[in-house]
Symmetry: C2
Subunit: 447 residues, 2 copies
């Protein structure tokens, strides 16, 4: 019976284990997880703080015990510290017992995820946290229980930062958002993200742009601007780095940034070593261009592909990712897909910018949606899309994702027969109109 | 300068006229409209009665005067009573002056629309109305202004009927819905539409199934069941028939049901006679199977194609229709596309039935969505889709429309990289899961 070792038991690893077991009742599966927990919905962590997820345990999809019942061996507090892919074994550190041992595999699945970045000034600050794991959540909840939080600082205006701001406000905590550059939420082009500052102001949330924390003494947070802020809690959400140091001395190929390179079956350069989750490098789905996307959709898709591949079904292949993403920020929805703005330069393109009501304009609750496409001049391919609004943004980005995946161009958007009724769309929907604009633009380019 | 005559000035005709003028500032355009108004949003009429469309005039996209300013000649109360396509002229009846004349064209665009069906018992009943035109709306509003409406009867449980029920309830009018068969809203399969009866009951709305109006005397409505209902207003929404009698003696080809047959450019069998709107027969987009879809999306798309074609741009082609449609009924959204249930027999198929929360299940406001696909056994093509829920239905039907249009199969739905964040989806979205179920089903069929 083949032995499968899985490194990391959160999203990618746990899902692969569960799928493998579903396909094959007999295969030997062991998960080594360096932390306390496995298989929880870490995207949901901020929403438990805000109260939209009522019970903490709703975030837990599987426990070591429930996996054990399905004959999946789970070793928590066990960190894989090295691998020997030629000899097909891993080195495991049993953290609680401070011992190390080797374990042999027939198939190895790497799902180490990312490590949250920190800043030096927050090291050893007792009220400073990240929110990356269920353990982090429990620490934060305990801190909020034990201490009166009059004011909190959130560091970083990315998606974790914005979600934390919103959820702390839902808990009636005063928040200051500290962001080191001029523009919040870098997945969005600066002119489109400018509304976030207005939204923060409208909600009475203090924001410090072009600022960093340089020192924390007691409850006093000192910024690089010289300002001092009183804060009983600090939460940093400033991105992750792939947790792949343990692979540095192996022959598993990593890219320059440390992400694990995989093929369409999720295999590394070793045919029996797979990788899944936030620490892999893949390619854009619509372009021959490498990308890493630390989001759950790709992890779940790759888990399916790897588990099927190991079980002998080679039909499912990973198509790469568009990086489709969305966040809610109070009343707004913000979604993008495709290339980052910084990656667009090497692709000759034009821009379609379009604002239209989300439903028939005569409906009293209609609201505007703003769509911006970056479109390849040569063939009309949609290189990048950004959509912002207060209703119906998720619909438009998902339609774009389905459309681009099957080769649909910007012009072709005119042809999508959306469901029209006044509460949902105009007869020429937002995306149809974007398509018509692209057709006009292309005609002009050819003149 | 070519002369264009357009028969019918509502959705299809008015949109074609406006587009033609936009493309060509000089072309000669005349619209003959038998009614009082042109270019109003008739899908929005019910919502003005309910109050979601605040001002009646918001429903008007263009007036005869505004078209005249753009050098589009508009003749209202002018009915085209016959055409001679070989001699390229139409016979026009000037209704107000009771005279008839001929008009010659180089291009003729037929947009006659449909005539609302009636039932004999409602003929000459002063409080009985249909809601098909802006004139109808004005009549109904005048009636509601002049008479106290304690109780209204809506006839027909199709989309107009359901929209009218909801909008009258929003006006605090007691309503009885009379529907002649066992099942409401026939676009949906009976077991999926059963909830509508529960929803009516929950809102305290009386419904009479398997019933028809046989007589109205004063305010007393007598049903085929013998029941009597007191009603100060009766609104019938029981479908339309194509208004193509004026073509019966022409050589323009109609199908058996009286719909005008057109090609991918919107042309009839005469190369200079086009047709658009509710009275045309087209083909399903995904199947070689005729269909007529009396909805606005197709009319707007065809208006674009016809106006471009007349102007010399032959690039845009009508791809046929999926019949993507949606209605809101109180808190529910109901959407379908593709074949009618009654048309499925000739296509060997299997059914995927799937219920899943619209967003991460741990979010306290997550609600279920029900998706049912009818899938071709031979190739996995999605023949028909139905989606019901209280949130996010419009997103799923639009994604399906985009997906099917570009040849995506049911299995292929697993690959759509939707935007995931807990407020919007699960990492494996509703449609992804439908795809995974289809993959399993297909595997079993091949075993």
């Amino acid at each position: 019976m083949p032995r499968v070792i899985i490194v990391g038991g959160v999203a990618g690893g746990a899902t692969t284990a569960a799928q493998l077991r579903r396909i094959d009742p007999d295969i030997d599966i062991t998960i080594y997880e360096k932390g306390r927990d496995i298989s929880y919905g870490n995207c949901g962590l901020p929403y438990h703080i805000g109260g939209e997820v009522k019970e903490r345990d709703q975030l837990i999809a599987a426990t070591p015990e429930s996996f054990m019942e399905r004959d999946i061996v789970v070793r928590t507090y066990h960190q894989v510290t090295g691998i020997d892919a030629d000899k097909k074994k891993v080195q495991v550190k049993d953290i609680l017992n401070d011992r190390t041992f080797d374990a042999e595999y027939d198939y190895l699945i790497l799902s180490p995820g990312g490590a949250p970045r920190t800043i030096p000034a927050l090291l050893d600050v007792p009220q400073a946290f990240v929110l990356h794991t269920l353990e982090n959540l429990d620490e934060i909840k305990a801190h909020m229980h034990n201490k009166t939080i009059k004011h909190a600082v959130v560091v970083g205006g990315g998606y974790i930062g914005l979600e934390m701001v919103e959820n702390l406000v839902h808990r009636d905590i005063d928040v200051t958002l500290v962001h080191r550059s001029e523009n919040l939420y870098h997945p969005l082009e600066p002119d489109m993200s400018a509304f976030i500052v207005d939204e923060l102001a409208a909600k009475g949330i203090d924001v410090k742009l072009n600022a960093e924390i340089v020192e924390v003494v007691g409850d006093t947070v000192t910024l690089s601007t010289g300002e001092e802020i009183d804060a009983q809690m600090i939460i940093a959400g400033i991105g992750i780095t792939p947790r792949t140091d343990f692979l540095r001395n192996s022959n598993v190929v990593l890219n320059e940034a440390g992400y694990i390179c995989v093929d369409q079956y999720g295999r590394t350069n070793y045919k029996d070593v797979y990788a899944v989750g936030d620490a892999i490098e893949t390619s854009y789905q619509h372009l021959d261009h490498p990308v890493n996307v630390a989001l759950a959709w790709g992890a779940h898709r790759m888990a399916y592909i790897i588990s099927n591949h190991i079980s002998g079904d080679k039909a499912a292949r990973f198509e790469g990712l568009l990086g489709t993403n969305i966040i809610r920020f109070f009343d707004h929805d913000i979604a993008t897909l495709g290339l980052q703005v910084s990656e667009l330069d090497s692709y000759p393109h034009f821009v379609i910018d379009h604002k239209q009501k989300n439903k028939a304009g005569y409906m009293s609750d209609s609201v505007p949606i703003h769509v911006r496409l970056h479109v390849s001049k040569s063939d009309g391919k949609i290189l990048r899309a950004a959509v912002v609004g207060t209703e119906g943004v998720d619909k438009r980005i998902d339609v774009l994702a389905a459309h681009i995946r099957l080769g649909g161009t910007a012009m072709d958007l005119a042809n999508i027969e959306v469901a029209y009724s006044p509460p949902y769309s105009s007869p020429k929907s937002v995306l149809n109109m974007v398509g018509y604009k692209a057709i006009e633009k292309m005609k002009k380019l050819k003149e």
